[in-house]
Amino acid sequence: MTFVRPVFRHPDLPKNKLGYTRKYYEGALSTLCAGCGHDSVSGAIIQACFEMAIEPHKVAKLSGIGCSSKTPAYFLSNSHGFNSVHGRMPSVATGANLANRDLMYIGVSGDGDSASIGIGQFVHAIRRNLNVTYIIMNNGCYGLTKGQDSATADVGSINKSGSANMYQAIDMAGLALELGASFVARSFSGDKEQMIPLIKAAMSHPGFSLIDIVSPCVTFNNNKGSTKSYDYTREHIEATAAVDFVPFMPEITTQYAEGDSISVPLHDGSLVHLNKLAHDWDPLDRHSAMNRLYEAKSTGEILTGLIFIDVEAPELHGILKTVEKPLNRLNKDELCPGEQVLKTINAGFR
């Protein structure tokens, strides 16, 4: 149990545009281990949704199986949730999204869930540019089954039982870049400042938005020698930029300096503002992003922040040219061609 929430809340708690307090965005009490990185990510999701004043019931939250995949129960209790089967959240999210393009979809997964059993569905969700905020709570191990190495464990990373992983790590951000993902970010569960604007930007981005979040497993993979421990991550972190998310407002007031800062306008009118820390890197250029990521990897840095964004790529509904009205709201008259048409069809088969 990570924390026991006070029952009483002060009436003057801050409210968002819709008049809701942060509490409105919370979920059930977490049953994860005290200190688990995943709980911080849940916290960031709650905060981002609260600040963006999203209607929780307009969000659907989906996951696979794992400690990470349990978290949708711990945020947004007014949202429908779907804890599906191991590794298959992307397909379920695809179906859900096709049924109703008007909701916002948050997919939560673990590194076991997404990089092993679910890697095929991950790859193909990217190919389709499914409009989902896809959060991987990446701890380099299988938490729920007690700490086996996952496919994102780095070569040489030492697990709790003391043995070093010998297999190549899959870099989920690198993979997504290679596959043509339209939004690729990485973060760290210990870095709330960065997670929150990234989640907001991801939710505003129409298309597949990956946030691969290093989220240490305190119980099984926070030991010395692990490259996914809190300490290691904190020491090796390297941010692409300081990220700021500016929601759409009729008049934008914030002003940014020229030079190494860049503002990316999103589809819905909001802006992602990046105060670049890396200089020879252009978040709008895939090749540049790949290079930056590769370099960071070579020098042992964990590159975080928004790595790449393509605001033009059509999302799945665009590709499929579906109608504006959600498919699940079309009624019989809109769907069923009727008796007369069937007669003509029959005639064609005589």
């Binding site: 929780p56 019931h57 779907f82 089967v85 379920v92 109703n100 909701l103 193909h124 579906t322 109608v323």
Partner: protein
Amino acid sequence: MHQLNALNDFVVRFANVNGTGSASANTMFAKAIFRMGIPVSPKNIFPSNIQGLPTWYEVRISEKGYLGRREGIDIMVSVNPQSMPKDIASVRPNGYFIYDSTKELHKEFIRDDIHYLGVPMMQMCMDKFADPRQRQLLKNMVYVGALAALIDIEIPVLQEIITLQFKNKEKLIEANFQALEMGATYVREHFKCPLGLRLERRDKVDDWIMIDGNTACGLGAIYAGATVAAWYPITPSTSLVQAFEKYAKKLRVDPATGHNKFAVIQAEDELAAIGVVIGAAWNGARSFTATSGPGVSLMSEFLGLAYFAEIPTVLVDVQRGGPSTGMPTRTQQSDILSAAYASHGDTKQVLIFPSTPAECFDHMAEAFDLAERLQTPVLVMTDLDLGMNDNMSPPLKWDDSRVFDRGKVLDEVQLEQLDKFGRYLDVDNDGICYRTIPGTHPTKGSFFTRGTSRDEYAAYTEDGAAYVRNVDRLLHKWETAKTYVPAPEFYQDEKQSAIGIIFFGTTTYAALEAVDILKEQGVVLDAMRVKAFPFNDEVREFVDAHDRVFIIEQNRDAQFRSLIINELDLRPSKIASVLNYDGFPITAETICNQIMESLIGKLSPAFVVHEAAPPSQSDVEE
């Protein structure tokens, strides 16, 4: 040599090389007979290959309307040297062997008990047409022309079909007419036409249509308002979603914007396909997938989730020869058990068994209603024979007053009035609870869907008692399901016999023919066609009312028999099996033989089931 005489009652088989365009000519042949008002039943027997291997097209013509397969080839049209020895051997004594005589037949191919009719098809095409590809294609029209003259197909009917098929391609129409004519003229000049086997126009097909089951299923999904289809290609189900998409593009595009009122996803595999379907269904869209055996195996984990989390899911299993990759282009009904009990743990899945294209259409619409009413997967069990062959069928029917049964879904107003929503509360005591669609209400009705045990309010629990309440409710729902699924069909007004016969799906035609034949032989059987699992009370009553029951099915292990014994707690000794599992559709002859063997104890050798009119003494001129 004897000559076969039969009017509107014989079997023609075409032996072709696949990938040579024979399908279109062969289909025209069958369709022309159909348009002459004579019942006809074509079956495509094709290899798992794209080009170059033998493929057959077998057409049974039956004035009596027997549409099952029949053993014994009366006329073989052979244009594939590769399979010729086998093709010659398969002609029944006194039958006809029509072949391309451009090359002379090797002596070893000569049987003295069949008639040879050589037509220099290739030669004629070489002489007449310039383009090599056209030559090959038109060769097929030559033999259709020859057949027309030999068995009295009305040439204008064929011409009409050609004209329609090549609408606005005058040159092609012209060439096809010529090829047809060439074939007809050649046989008229060289042989006595017509043969003793011949056709005569009738009025026996009513307003029926000729359509494959997959297309009918696809149309059913359109009419039922399915909006999301996800699939992965696999023979013999591929053409089902393709048909859905084709008709959706015609009938479901918003004329104003050009936008689609449907979404089709060719998934990366079957696991993803069913995942998409489940996700869409959870979110309130009617969605479905179609696959075959290997896909059902791959989908089984997800089917367990849908059963347990109670998500309406529609899946069509177009069965093929198993196990494993098996015989991918042959037919079987061998996924019964793996579908009925799909997934680990205690699961039971609803199955429905259409047997005609019209029923494919109806059952597909029914499947969506049932799935939503029962909040569970519904598997429509067809097979290659029904799915991929053009089957004669009553026309597809739709009643505009029909409404979609979306089952128990709470809308915003209902939620507003509700005190506390319990997703898994059995409010109506029928085992079926109320669900909500995401996005309906800001504060009421949201719940967490999962494949783990939970209480009535969808909260995770490991409490054994709560688990038992939940799975017992699912059993209660299963009982309820028996009252919703389609009832069986009976073929007699009241009990006539102590012996019953049960069949389902594509064995129907052969079964009904067998019933007629056996009746002629003095063996009267009561017949029941089962349309769904779980078995409703009428099924049990039928079995109880008979001392002995035969179950006809197309698999090795008598899977349907297992299912019915198991679910109805029947005494196995009274249930006998009629089995056929070589990949070909069962024949009435097989059914009669197996039943008689079982009844009499041994096979009566004189029990030759289907014999056309006795052969006359006259020889054909050759």
